[in-house]
């Protein structure tokens, strides 16, 4: 669309910075990105950052300190559209494993002992635990193609509607043999597509790093893996690795039925 350039901010909460890095990894497109929009804030790329009203805020990382909660709320207030960028922002990331506050405390002590930390920490959560999120772009980290397509659509004023599909779809596009069928612990059917089935294309089962796909059949795959000889504990742990907070409802129901 013609007219004024969109004002964009890219923010990093707690995570590996991989999503911001993936934006920098769009080497060929980077000049066009900077030309197409007015990047107000992008700590990894520039010094002269302004925290003002924004059209779109891209937020990566999970919320792990009280200060980040405040920062995030401030970003929401300043932005018309907020996009959760990457697995940490969408589901809380791998660090969202300890949701039980007591367990979290216990593990926290294991690492930091009794030292009173100056910056109070909170249990790791995705950003939608605190603010309304308009779009989700999962991935650990996001993929370049997925980001560029999304970003371009946003710039042109028509963010794409989500059409959720599991990794299996891309996996078949790549003509891989089904690893699950071969008895491997593959999370492809439960994981949102976007990576292009990288792991199965390297003969490795999907670890689930795009987070849960909408409409995934967790119950069936759970029993299927059990049917293949994996232990219940093992399945539960492996399913939890990249699912963040998004499976809590499923486990509640699942455990109740058990």
């Amino acid at each position: 669309m013609k007219g004024k350039k969109l004002k964009i901010g890219i923010y990093e909460l707690t995570g590996c910075a991989g999503d911001a890095l993936m934006i920098l990894n769009c080497e060929k497109e980077l000049p066009a990105i900077f030309q197409a929009v007015d990047i107000q804030s992008f700590l990894m790329a520039k010094s002269d950052n302004i925290d003002d009203e924004l059209d779109v805020a891209l937020v990566e990382g999970s919320v792990t300190t009280e200060k980040e909660v405040e920062e995030l709320k401030d970003i929401r207030k300043r932005s018309k559209i907020v996009v959760a960028l990457g697995l940490c922002a969408t589901v809380g990331g791998i660090q969202a494993r300890f949701q039980d506050p007591q367990k979290w405390q216990e593990n926290f002590r294991q690492v930091y002992g009794e030292t009173k930390m100056e910056l109070p920490a909170v249990v790791s959560k995705p950003i939608d635990a605190y603010i309304k999120v308009d779009f989700y772009l999962p991935g650990c980290p996001i993929s370049k193609e997925q980001f560029l397509n999304f970003f371009t659509r946003v710039v042109k004023g028509a963010p794409p509607e989500s059409y959720p599909q599991p990794v299996c779809v891309s996996c078949k596009y790549k003509e891989n043999d089904c690893l699950l069928k071969n008895g491997l612990f593959c999370l492809g059917p439960l994981t949102a597509d976007g990576c292009g089935a990288v792991c199965p294309s390297h003969n490795l089962p999907c670890v689930g790093c795009w987070g849960p796909v909408q409409g995934g059949n967790w119950t069936s795959e759970f029993y299927l893996l059990q049917d293949k000889g994996f232990s219940r504990e093992f399945i539960k742990k492996k399913m939890a690795n990249f699912a963040g907070t998004k499976l809590s409802e499923f486990w509640k129901q699942f455990d109740r039925r058990d």
């Binding site: 042109k156 004023g157 028509a158």
Partner: protein, 286 residues
């Protein structure tokens, strides 16, 4: 060896034709009226369609979706659409202004069986955005008034502000050759002079119907069908004379993408107009 072979194909059915928005104005808060003309004047005049057919509209950068044609083929040259803002594509259409370009291809689908309707009484029941496809057939009947028997229009909306073509239909009420009944579920204005209640509350107001002689056309939100059809069946209108037009996801409009499949038919080729008999016969229709 030389494998390459000269292709025999001439027309790519997936390529739209550029069209210019001639007029655009809001019908309700979330529905806008678009009048467009194909840029190529010859194509514009050659664009022949039946009431009830649809076209694929594409917006650069947003995508393509099917929309019923609301204008009547009896007034050629311009195409009209009523579009409700529900998603990305319609959102992008909403941002367009007069003189902007869109892509149009079509017409697609079966449309209403006008030949079978000739000489018959036409009972049109519409609710909400159901007015979009049925306005086409209504205007067609009115433009060819002598070819049809009675023409009856029942139109319902949630409230006066949400009635699509409210003014147009109010004006039509003055016509003596049209039995026009309007209703709103609730009147939040205090100014509404017509009926208040759901669309089925209009049925008792109808003058006696000759069921064998009547073709009924229905379109509206999914919840409306059940109740309206009950009324029509009560009037003893034969099941294959109750026509309805349906909405499905479509990516091609030409029977290839598969999204609109129901049993073994494609809504885009065999529909979107179906009879109530089809509906009973093919369980997935509504």
């Amino acid at each position: 060896m030389k494998v390459e072979k000269k292709t025999t194909l001439t027309k790519n059915p997936f390529l739209p034709d550029p069209a210019r928005i001639v007029r655009v104005y809001p019908l309700t808060q979330d529905v806008k009226f678009f009048q467009v003309r194909l840029v190529d004047i010859n194509k514009a005049l050659a664009f022949q369609y039946h009431p009830g057919q649809f076209a694929m509209i594409s917006i650069l950068g947003a995508g393509e979706a099917p929309f019923s044609i609301s204008s009547t083929p009896s007034r050629p040259g311009l195409l009209e659409f009523c579009i409700r803002k529900t998603g990305t594509i319609t959102g992008a259409i909403f941002n367009l202004k007069e003189n902007d370009l869109i892509g149009v291809r079509g017409p697609y689908g079966n449309g209403f069986p006008i030949e079978k309707m000739l000489g018959k009484d036409i009972l049109i029941v519409m609710g909400g955005l159901g007015a979009a496809p049925l306005r086409s057939v209504l205007l067609y009947c009115l433009d060819n008034r002598d070819q049809f028997g009675r023409v009856i229009l029942l139109h319902g909306a949630k409230c006066p502000a949400e009635m699509i073509f409210c003014q147009e239909f109010q004006d039509l009420k003055k016509r003596e050759d049209l039995e026009c009944y309007l209703t709103v579920d609730t009147d939040d204005t205090g100014q509404w002079e017509d009926n208040i209640g759901v669309v089925t509350t209009l049925f008792p107001k109808l003058k006696a119907i000759n069921p064998e002689q009547t073709v009924s056309l229905v379109c509206g939100p999914p919840v409306m069908y059940k109740f309206v059809i009950q009324e029509l069946l009560k009037l003893q209108i034969p099941k294959d004379q109750i026509l309805m037009t349906l909405e499905r996801r479509m990516k091609c409009g030409v029977g290839k993408c598969g999204h609109c499949a129901i049993d073994y038919i494609y809504t885009c080729l065999d529909g979107p107009v179906f009879t109530y008999w089809d509906v009973i016969h093919m369980r997935e229709l509504i």
